[in-house]
Amino acid sequence: MRGSHTAQEKEQKTSREFIPPRWLVTIVWLIGFFAVWEIIAAAVQASGGSNTVFPHLYDMIYWCFSTDTVQTATQSYSLCGATIWSYLWDTLSVAILGFLIGFALGIVFALLMSLFLPVQKVGYPLLLVSQMIPMLGLAPIFLSIFPELFTSKMFMAAYMSFFPIAANTFAGFKAVDRERKELLKISAANTYQVYTKLMFPAALPSLFVGLKLAAPSAFCAVIFTELLRTQGGLGYGIFASQYASRWDLCWGYIFMAILAGVLIFYLVELVRHFVIRWKSTD
């Protein structure tokens, strides 16, 4: 017995692989990314292309904090390092507002579908169809419906976050265990109690799946709408810098968008971490 045990342990030991800590993975990943980027940038610039098409990363970082303004031939877009931060805020504030509206509407819609079968029968296919409308076609329509650019952007963000939140919250409601509901029935709970004490808490993990999909797509929707009309925001920055053939600035805006999108995703993840402190026993 004892012999076989140690043999097993030995086998386990040899087959155990090195699992690096997370911070190390992140650092290696970042260094790798910088190295590959810089090699490509050096190669592109050495081959005689425009020195802004694939700028060095340090140029971009320098530019983000500089105050040089950029003039184009036809228009005086005021593009400079200082604007990137205010543009980021333009985009982010609208995206957050739209996201919150989509969040509220999504929850309400999921609740109505769960409470009333006719709403579910009519609403769910509608929800799916609404998701098939391409953003490319919808943004101009929103822009012509709402006179204010701000409102169009906000509703685009709301629209994009509505579906994942509604669909996932509803899926969460549907997945609630039958016996858990029956227990509340035996306790003579009313509908309000069933939802506050069981349905919503039970649907939370699923709701957060929806939120993690919705948050970045709300942000993307705002950037996309900004590309179509010129008036502040990261999308405008991307558009204007491309128009001015300042690819280095364009990359700066794109990176800022990526960074903000990733941060938003992790922000939702962080909230989830603090809200959901339990594990399922099913």
């Binding site: 265990d177 016996e179 858990r180 029956e182 227990l183 509340l184 029935k185 035996i186 306790s187 003579a188 709970a189 109690q193 004490k197 069981l198 808490p201 039970a202 939370l204 959901i276 402190r277 339990w278 594990k279 399922s280 026993t281 099913d282």
Partner: protein, 277 residues
């Protein structure tokens, strides 16, 4: 005049006590039929002509193979489903009235705890629904946890507990509202033999202390003999009561009884009931 009033009041008290002893936990089932309709439109008879008297404060097992309708019968008593025909009286009321009056407690095969609540908060759940004040709720839940021997685990979460402990919490939760009737649907069948036998004795202790009626669904013959005053033997196709057996083993029951001849005789008798079908 005053003496009469006192005597009336005494009579009332006696009557109330009598009611509590003999009626509150009494379950009467007459000519009960349950027919399901499947999606295809076929009719399936789950229960046919069931007549059953369960006395207040007794421990009754519904025993049978799967498909015999034992769980269906339990769910009818719990007002989770409505029978096709027949009458059901639970504590002198209809099942719906009994449920709304919070006379029922339920324990399922899996503990089905609310994963996002601590053990204590799980036991408090039915009391919250009754709008019991917070302090009282806490005291009652703590008392219940003490009764099932989980006082030290009050602030743990369900996932931190073993299966047997989770089922104890589930029993504490069912008993928190002090129901006259405890309904149990194969509560120990997912547990290992050792945990199950321990829980048998614990459940009998709790039952003795709280004096409620227990209706216990199981497919385990020895389990039903060890626990019950009365074993209702059910058989399938169509689901029906095929025999009712009184178990007159002494109380309190203890593990040694599992070795006695009397105990084996009961098991053999029930086995022969099944063979006769």
């Amino acid at each position: 005049m005053e003496r009469i009033a006192i005597r009336d009041r005494l009579n009332m008290a006696v009557a109330t006590q009598y009611y509590a002893d003999h009626e509150e936990g009494r379950i009467s089932i007459e000519n009960l039929n349950m027919v399901y309709e499947t999606d295809k439109g076929d009719k399936v008879t789950a229960l046919t002509d069931v007549n059953l008297e369960i006395e207040s404060g007794s421990f009754v097992s519904l025993l049978g193979p799967s498909g015999c309708g034992k769980t269906t019968l339990l769910r009818i008593i719990a007002d989770l489903i409505t029978p096709t025909s027949g009458s059901v009286s639970v504590g002198g009321m209809s099942p719906t009235q009994a449920r709304m009056a919070r006379k029922l407690g339920m324990v399922f095969q899996s503990a089905v705890l609310y994963d996002w609540r601590s053990v204590l908060k799980n036991v408090e759940m039915p009391l919250e629904i009754m709008h019991l004040p917070k302090g009282e709720r806490r005291d009652r839940a703590e008392h219940m946890l003490e009764m099932v021997g989980l006082k030290d685990f009050a602030h743990r979460y369900p996932y931190e507990l073993s299966g047997g402990m989770q089922q104890r919490v589930s029993i504490a939760r069912a008993l928190a509202v002090n129901p006259g009737i405890l309904l149990m649907d194969e509560p120990f069948s997912a547990l290992d033999e050792f945990t199950r036998e321990k829980l048998h004795d614990d459940l009998l202790g709790i039952w003795k202390e709280n004096k409620m009626t227990i209706v216990f669904v199981t497919h385990n013959i020895s389990e039903s003999v060890y626990l019950s005053d009365k074993v209702v033997v059910m058989s399938p196709h169509p689901g029906r009561v095929s025999a009712v057996l009184d178990i007159s083993l002494n109380r309190p029951r203890c593990a040694q009884m599992r070795e006695t001849e009397e105990y084996y005789d009961y098991i053999a008798e029930i086995r022969s009931d099944f063979e006769g079908v």
